[in-house]
């Protein structure tokens, strides 16, 4: 077990490092001059040259990469070219939006999807089954940004119940911030829930068809016990995988949603960094994205053994 964990942790670290190399290379391969983007279209050539020196762009790329990596190892992500503030601080500020959004959406999706999935699995063959399957297919097919626009039109423009976008900040208003996250949360969670309903239903059907469930029923256990104690427990491994995937999906999906709702989150920070060729900022954000995704899949792997003692790690 320890050896397995050590090996998985090492793989995870190498993946994150590889991601940093790929991002650094990709950013270099795309043309674009951060100095020109900072100074604007009408800047003089001398001002551009001075700005490049000031930004450290005259240093050769390999040296820049090594310097940056050295900084990362001691916890220094460098300074954003556009905002002229430490990348770590900018990223930290944005987590206050992105983490509640991603975790909230994944939880909401799970809370919606698992009961509905179990319900339809138990009611297989009834009228509910095809209805839910159809609804989930539709939900999975609707792009989240479009759903987001529909939600804005309905709940912000027509009904005026919730803000159409923006984020007041936790320090200014907790209630206001929660209200600002509600529609984005829904837009992210509904599509994800649609996918998860189908997976839960399939996992439950799988388990319900097995011998031990028949035995449990035969010995006269109540349906609640059959499902809750025997079937669900055995479907958990699949469900945890699904939850891990959901978290990764909403984390990535929030890039688009943050843009539509003008939320100051990590995804919007990444888009701004790409647009402005803000190399240090972009590298910092991608490093965080890569680390998070790798960490999530690591946690999901490790949780299998805990949920199902039959799973052994070689």
């Amino acid at each position: 077990m320890t050896r397995y964990l050590a090996r998985r942790a090492l793989t995870a670290l190498v993946s994150v490092w590889l991601a940093s190399v790929v991002v650094f290379g990709a950013v270099l391969a795309v043309p674009g001059d951060p100095a020109a983007l900072i100074l604007g279209m009408n800047a003089a050539p001398e001002a551009l040259a001075a700005m490049r020196t000031q930004l450290g762009l005259d240093v050769p790329p390999p040296e820049r990469y090594v310097r940056w990596l050295g900084g990362v190892l001691i916890g220094d992500l460098g300074e954003s070219l556009q905002y002229q503030r430490p990348v770590a601080r900018l990223v930290w500020d944005r987590l206050g939006v992105s983490v509640p959004l991603a975790v909230g959406a994944a939880l909401l999706a799970t809370l919606l999807a698992v009961p509905v999935g179990i319900f339809t699995a138990l009611r297989r063959g009834s009228l509910w089954d095809p209805l839910v399957v159809l609804a989930s297919q539709l939900g999975a097919a609707i792009p989240s940004f479009w759903l987001a626009l529909l939600l804005i039109l309905a709940f912000a423009v027509q009904l005026g119940w919730l803000p159409s976008g923006g984020f007041p900040g936790w320090d200014v208003s907790v209630v206001g911030s929660l209200r600002a996250l509600l529609l984005p949360l829904l837009a992210l969670a509904l599509g994800q829930a649609a996918v998860m309903v189908r997976l839960t239903r399939a996992a439950m059907l799988d388990v319900l068809a097995q011998d031990f469930v028949r035995t449990a029923r035969a010995k006269g256990l109540s349906p609640l016990k059959v499902v809750g104690k025997h079937a669900l427990r055995n479907a958990l491994v699949t469900l945890v995988t699904v939850f891990g995937l959901a978290l990764t999906n909403v984390f990535i999906g929030s890039i688009v949603i943050e843009q539509v709702f003008s939320l100051p989150g990590l995804g919007r920070l990444a888009l701004t960094a790409i647009g402005n060729r803000d190399y240090p900022l972009l590298q910092g954000v991608i490093l965080l994205y890569a680390s998070t995704i790798v960490l999530l899949s690591f946690l999901v792997d490790v949780s299998y053994g805990w949920l199902d003692p039959r799973i052994r790690y070689a």
Binding site: N42, A44, P264
Partner: protein, 500 residues
């Protein structure tokens, strides 16, 4: 050209709106508004970047210069109460306003003004647009209320340049922190900035004009998506969109009694730029043919609901020396084919046409133009390029055939005097005429020189100037006093007030 009923409706609305402006209710003190802007600026110091995102928030609100543009583009006193020009045109004398304080409480002195122009004249200071002060040899202060600019030759554009967004004055002691914490003399103090989210300004109670501003504060909210800006306005989360409301949203907004739309002028010219140094564009006949092939009015009417003015040179109708040259090479596909045949392209012609990704108006215009060019036998390879690439490869390196962009700087016809500019147009006569305009003895002579430049570049068909888009602003019904025209990119809130 048949006029659509929608266009007629819009024109009617415009006519109805005109008298309504005269009936604005009297100004009310107090309240705050939320304004939508599209992006984070690269820092807040307008002397370090020509980015319009900085000017939109700070011009007239946070920062002021000696003089400034008013809402109609007229140059009016700001930190200077008046000015005089020597008869030989070689000295300009400004009188500094008394009792002006910066937002940090310190008084405005001639030292702050001198320091500003020392930086503007020092090539190593990082101050942008040093070319605007090329004729200035010295700036001095004979007493503590007077500033004198000494020139090597008369400069008609000096006063205009002193009103631009980078000509602002901030306290000498706080020069290094303006990028993150702007401190000026304007009617609003910079209060809070959350990157990617919002900027908050608060009323400056010690503003030199005790009558202004009316508002207690304003929040500029960063909403990158144009349709999300409109949704926010309709939902009441935003009170004002100062510029660039998508034309297709105008009808939706006009139908809603809670909001109002204001149509004005702006300084942008949507320009199909051609690389004049590269075949086939080095042949005047090809450039003429391309101009003849494009039906500009059809584009404005069909794709932008008539919200713009067709132009024939690098000049928008909002400029003081505007001249209508749309007849130079009018829409005439037959003539276009003849010219192409003369130039040796009777069998057709093929080149790249690259559209800048962030600009929807330009992309849409470009797509229609590609279709119109096809009708005279020109095949273009259309592609969309991301903004960083556009700046780097097309704008700075001039590695392109044809592109399209809105040139929104006011009074920027001087770019045709720069052979290294991305049009790669080399005509020394333009530089001569610019110098003539600068040294012109009278305003009429200056105008004549500028119009001559406009005519030369139009006849040379350097680019195709398609149209000048109308400035479309929109606000909640109770918001008054905002700028309808955009003589310079700005969302000036000095005289804005809210009647609830």
């Amino acid at each position: 050209m048949t006029r659509s009923p929608l266009l007629v409706l819009l024109l009617a609305a415009l006519l109805l709106a005109a008298p309504a402006l005269a009936q604005d209710p009297p100004p009310v003190r107090g309240g705050a508004i939320t304004v939508a802007i599209s992006a984070d600026p690269p820092g807040w110091d307008p002397t370090l970047s020509t980015s319009q995102e900085i000017a939109r928030v700070t011009y007239g609100n946070v920062f002021e210069g000696l003089v400034r543009f008013d809402r109609h583009g007229q140059i009016v006193p700001a930190l200077a109460t008046g000015w005089q020009v020597a008869t030989d045109g070689l000295a300009w004398t400004f009188t500094l306003r008394e009792g002006v304080r910066f937002h940090d409480g310190s008084p405005l002195t001639v030292d702050d003004v001198l320091f500003k122009f020392e930086r503007a004249l020092d090539p190593d200071s990082g101050h942008v647009n040093q070319g605007y002060y090329a004729a200035v040899t010295d700036v001095r202060a004979p007493d503590d209320r007077t500033i004198v600019f000494e020139l090597s030759q008369p400069s008609r554009s000096l006063l205009y340049n002193l009103a631009r967004p980078d000509a602002i004055i901030y306290p000498r002691a706080l020069a290094d922190t303006q990028r993150s914490r702007p401190v000026g003399t304007g009617p609003f103090r910079f209060a809070r900035y959350v990157e990617g989210s919002e900027v908050r300004l608060e009323r400056f109670d010690d503003y030199w004009n005790p009558e202004l501003p009316y508002l207690d504060g304003a929040t500029f909210r960063i909403v990158s998506d144009p349709n999300a800006r409109v949704a926010a306005l309709l939902a009441g989360d935003v009170d004002l969109i100062g510029a660039a409301v998508p034309p297709e949203q105008v009808r939706v907004l006009q139908a809603n009694p809670a909001v109002k739309v204001a149509l004005g002028t702006a300084t942008a010219e949507v320009t199909v730029a051609m690389n004049n140094s590269r075949p086939p564009f080095d042949d005047l006949r090809v450039r003429q043919a391309i101009t003849h092939a494009i039906d500009k009015q059809a584009i404005v009417d069909g794709a932008f609901f008539g919200l713009g003015t067709v132009i024939g040179t690098h000049m928008s109708p909002s400029e003081a020396y505007y001249v209508d040259l749309t007849d130079t090479y009018p829409y005439d596909p037959e003539r276009a084919r003849e010219l192409l045949a003369e130039a040796g392209y009777a069998d057709g012609l093929r080149f790249d046409f690259e559209l800048p990704e962030p600009y929807a108006i330009e992309r849409r215009t470009g797509e229609i133009i590609a279709q119109q060019l096809r009708e005279v036998g020109i095949q273009v390879n259309l592609s969309v390029v991301e903004w960083g690439t556009w700046i780097q490869r097309i704008f700075l390196a001039a590695d392109y055939d044809m592109t399209i962009i809105g040139h929104s700087e006011p009074r920027d016809i001087d770019i045709y005097a720069r052979p290294d500019y991305y049009y790669r147009y080399d005509n020394p006569r333009v530089a001569e005429l610019l110098a003539e305009a600068e040294a012109a003895p009278t305003a009429a002579a200056e105008t004549a020189a500028y119009r001559e430049i406009a005519r030369i570049i139009a006849e040379d068909a350097v680019n195709v100037w398609v149209f000048s888009p109308a400035n479309v602003a929109a606000a909640r019904t109770g918001v008054y006093g905002f700028w309808v025209d955009q003589p310079t990119p700005a969302i000036d809130l000095t005289q804005v007030y809210v009647v609830r």
